[in-house]
Symmetry: none
Subunit: 250 residues, 2 copies
Amino acid sequence: MNQITIPQFELVYNSLSFGVAAMGAATLFLWLSRSSVAPAYRTAVTISGLVTFIALYHYLRIFNSWNETYTVVNGTITETGVKFNDAYRYVDWLLTVPLLLIELILVMRLSKEESTSKSIQLGSLAALMILLGYPGEVSADSTTRWIWWGLSMVPFTIIMIQLFGGLKKAIDSQPESVRGMVGSARLLTVASWCFYPVVFILPMIGFTGGAATSAVQVGYTISDVVAKAVFGIFIYAIAVRKSEAEGYTG
Amino acid sequence: MNQITIPQFELVYNSLSFGVAAMGAATLFLWLSRSSVAPAYRTAVTISGLVTFIALYHYLRIFNSWNETYTVVNGTITETGVKFNDAYRYVDWLLTVPLLLIELILVMRLSKEESTSKSIQLGSLAALMILLGYPGEVSADSTTRWIWWGLSMVPFTIIMIQLFGGLKKAIDSQPESVRGMVGSARLLTVASWCFYPVVFILPMIGFTGGAATSAVQVGYTISDVVAKAVFGIFIYAIAVRKSEAEGYTG
């Protein structure tokens, strides 16, 4: 790991703890509210809570790993020699990113065939995107990082095009009252996802040493909270609105 | 244990953590979704969640055992002298493998007599298969491993024949809309189960030292996630489809 300062250590430490609290809270809210939506939308809400639950588990692990990597005693920070495990993020994304796309597809309530085919297609592309990003993330060499970043951007771009173009028709078929919200959820996905490739290249565009390490950790944490917890609440709100429109009274 | 390299250690470490997250997520999904299926299928879904829950417990134990066996400090890996406990997997299988077969039998909703007799027959064979495999797994001697592997393959083969032949008639009696899915669940069982005896013989067919140790751990983890979590979701999907076909609206 790069040598970092105490304020940088504390910033990451507190961000990770914020991640734990946000993911835990979102999970409980979503699962407790499951019965407030019509049965047709319950799987979407259950999966939203599943995504934040998986993230909660990984944020607890990342938090512990961060604390095992450094010790702060008497105003001095020293490395313990234990390696910070960055792989937790990738294991998390491998499980949660396909599920996030499935949430969005399920809440739209398309036909069974369309839901299944879109879930498989976008889910597989998302898994491929994560797997291609990992070899770059664990490399310290800038060229290697750029190569894997570029490869990972291929499925990323296809997913973005699908979300923007492919789902446009599906959004137009949504009831009037939720069309705006579904559109916003799609925009939130696109905007929060664009954050990740930017955070990835921070160490390649001038951020060095402790600044790079802490910027990457804080950046990913904010992105994760937006893309998983905030997005999950959005999915829930859409499900509530659609349930009401369909006459569900709870 | 065999001496392993840091990348091998980390690969197993991250696979085991992936196992924990996948089993935990599957358990909660299955138990939360229990009410989405007709009462007749709830036991099948509950047991599916039970299988992944038992696996969650054992993966937490295996993960901790793995970390107690090695220490990585300042880029050097050393053995602590604490033995890695492989028995957790066998205790897990002894409980979960008979339950997995019962899940599949229950979701088919055969007659009471047939369900009971098939559950007892296949469940006992599965327990016998695990018990016969264990003495081989803990032996370092190739001949001993082959003998117990061979003995364990006897109940394994009978189960496979039963699944392929004996359940064929039962599958033909399923409603049209789920016949394909039940057939796929049966195939998924057969395919994922065939993985285990292959992983078992890796150390006997040329994989040595750290490569053997890590290949066996990663192999069993992937097999477990497919045979328990993915299979459980499959059982749930079949239960949903059958509930709908029988007019259950949730």
